[in-house]
Amino acid sequence: MPDARVIPIDKGEQPPRRTAAAADAVAAGASRATGERARSRRSNPLLDEPAAAPDETPVETPEWERRLAGALAFVRRRLTGDVEIDEFGFDPELTEHVLLALVRPLYEHYFRVEVRGLENIPGEGGALVVANHSGTIPLDSVMTQIALLDHHPAHRHLRMLGADLVFQTPIVSELARATGTTLACNADAERLLGKGELVGVWPEGFKGIGKPFAERYKLQRFGRGGFVSAALRAGVPIVPCSIVGAEEIYPILGNMKTLARLLGLPYVPVTPTFPWLGPLGLVPLPSKWIIEFGEPIATEDFPVGAADDPMLVFNLTDQVRETIQHTLYRLLMARRSVFF
């Protein structure tokens, strides 16, 4: 299209000031953190004036006050909708500072999670973390997310793939989207991996998380291997991840099938404490957790079209499953006790 043809689209209206507005927004975003602090000091210069040595000012500005100012600014951004989410609905600020912060004590002090093999997770670029699923409610995925965000040198966000039930359920759906979870389907997995994200998948699904206590640490079927073909198409490594400790937090002794069918849930568990102790039964047992990331399985050496070769996909799925199963046995042998 020739440049000469200029048609007044914004006839009679003020032309949009994208560049200026965008530049302002960028500047505001960049200097927001420092700007807030600066303003909080500036707001009351007379009161802040130290009576004695001026050198004391930095010492005098208490940490808690700066934090409070930061918290106020955070609340303001939330209330005015001044936040950025990505196309999947992931809200990094809310995830890091609020949602994960709420469960972090559980990670640090309750389950005392020990992470091993973080060097197997690349510092940048796409990778697919495949883990065993257990624990009645998916706390294992939350703990893995915290492990990678807090303890990986590159502080990586784990983008998880969830079942459609997650996105049908009120509140769970909202939290899942905000923490970066998306629907477990090939389109979403490949899109995330293509963007260079670290993607987490729990292929056992409800079969794994809702299995009876007697079958603990016995891996269930690994879906249909969809995760393997997604990794093959994106050419990213598959990192097997073995989680020990999650099986014991809510030991499932039975399943109230009728109630589950009524509520539209995959299962309603009976544990030693639930539903006998009422809400107290929701408190998980304080098992000691180990999360171990294994050697990555490279996929870029496979020929083009490998993702469409069902035999190869099955074999690779089995290989990942076996690796996790053997790692679980090894970790269990070395474990002294469930709780320490």
Partner: protein
């Protein structure tokens, strides 16, 4: 020879603006606007034909004027505009069939542009995060505007098969916002307290009316056939949008939502179909790679900028507007400043 363009649905805001836009283009010699009701805006030098596209008279107009480009913008989104759902379906589906039948008989027609909607994808928890143009939605639209759009697109595909010499472009627009456009969604955000579905924060995408007009205009002149998603960059969550409009949200439990929707519809405040409710529960985001790479179109407004412009120009204000909240923040900080100084002063004394 200049081009002769026929536009349907010119009496509504976007159609009227689009007609003005086409007249300013030197390559276009004649613009013929068609609608059932007389236009509210000035159409300039465009010729206006007051006709129902369901009427065979359209065929005569096309033949006499030797129309070479038809822009179909007469797919209605709101039953209130059309005078009932039955009438709306009649206009949308039967109207499109008649228009396409007339086009098929007219050898002069070389180009067809159809304004469709991303509503054709529906909204469900089983769909991928982003819809691409060739994706089959899991849950097909069962009612209202979405179903009409799906059917309209079906007829358009049929037409494209029967007249392979005509370049057919289908534009699937995300929700329009802007200084003047009114849609069910803009009336929804204008409610004093905005009801939402408890426990869901759907992702939304908007397209600014200016960008929408620009892409309609460029595709009318270009020869890019195919189906394209049109939306501003980035996404917003529903609650984020409500807060940016300065409104408080009122989350209602999911079973109560249809009931509230119906009440609002009966009051004539906002038009809530069950389709709209699903959209406000599960949201919808489309992939715009093809718009960028094939059409070469870059929207000037991102989703958020478009929405902010809508809030600013339509003068939406509420208890959660940015300045109110900021004033409150300053007040809170002042109070904290006093708190901080007070104990220290006491210690000094």
């Amino acid at each position: 020879m200049g081009r002769v363009v026929m536009v349907t649905g010119v009496s509504r805001h976007l159609g009227g603006r689009f007609t003005q836009l086409l007249q300013a283009d030197p390559d276009i010699t004649r613009v013929i606007g068609v609608d059932v009701v007389p236009p509210k805006h000035d159409l300039g030098d465009a010729e206006f034909v007051r006709a129902d596209i369901r009427n065979p008279v359209i065929g005569k107009v096309i033949a006499q004027a030797e129309v070479d480009t038809v822009v179909h913008m007469a797919v209605l989104a709101t039953p209130l505009d059309a005078g009932g759902r039955a009438m709306m379906k009649e206009i949308n589906v039967i109207g499109t069939m008649q228009l396409l039948a007339a086009c098929q008989k007219a050898p002069s027609v070389r180009k067809l542009v159809v304004k469709s909607s991303t509503a054709v994808y529906g909204s469900s928890p089983q769909d991928p995060a982003l819809f691409t143009e060739d994706l089959e939605p899991n849950a097909l639209a069962r009612s209202g505007y979405a179903k009409d759009s799906v059917e309209v697109e079906g007829y358009v595909r049929g037409f494209a098969r029967r007249r392979p010499d005509v370049t057919v472009t289908t534009l699937r627009f995300a929700n329009f916002v802007g200084p003047r456009v009114t849609t069910p969604l803009t009336s929804y955000f204008s409610l004093p307290v905005v009801p939402t579905v408890l426990g869901f924060d759907p992702r939304l995408q908007f397209v600014h009316e200016r960008d929408g007009l620009e892409v309609l205009w460029t595709t009318t002149l270009d020869d890019h056939g195919g189906t394209f998603n049109i939306a501003g960059d980035g996404v917003m969550s529903l609650h984020q949008a409500i807060h940016r409009a300065g409104r408080p949200a009122l989350p209602l439990p999911q079973p109560a939502a249809p009931w509230i929707g119906q009440a609002l519809r009966r009051l004539g405040v906002a038009d809530f179909s069950s389709e709209q409710l699903r959209f406000l529960t599960y949201g919808r985001v489309v992939d715009t790679t093809r718009m960028r790479e094939v059409l070469g179109f870059e929207p000037r407004y991102s989703t958020r900028e478009a929405f902010d412009d809508f809030v600013l120009r339509q003068g939406l204000r509420g208890p959660l507007s940015a300045d109110t909240v900021e004033a409150f923040e300053h007040k809170a900080r002042d109070v904290l400043g006093v708190l901080r100084v007070a104990p220290r002063g006491g210690a000094d004394a």
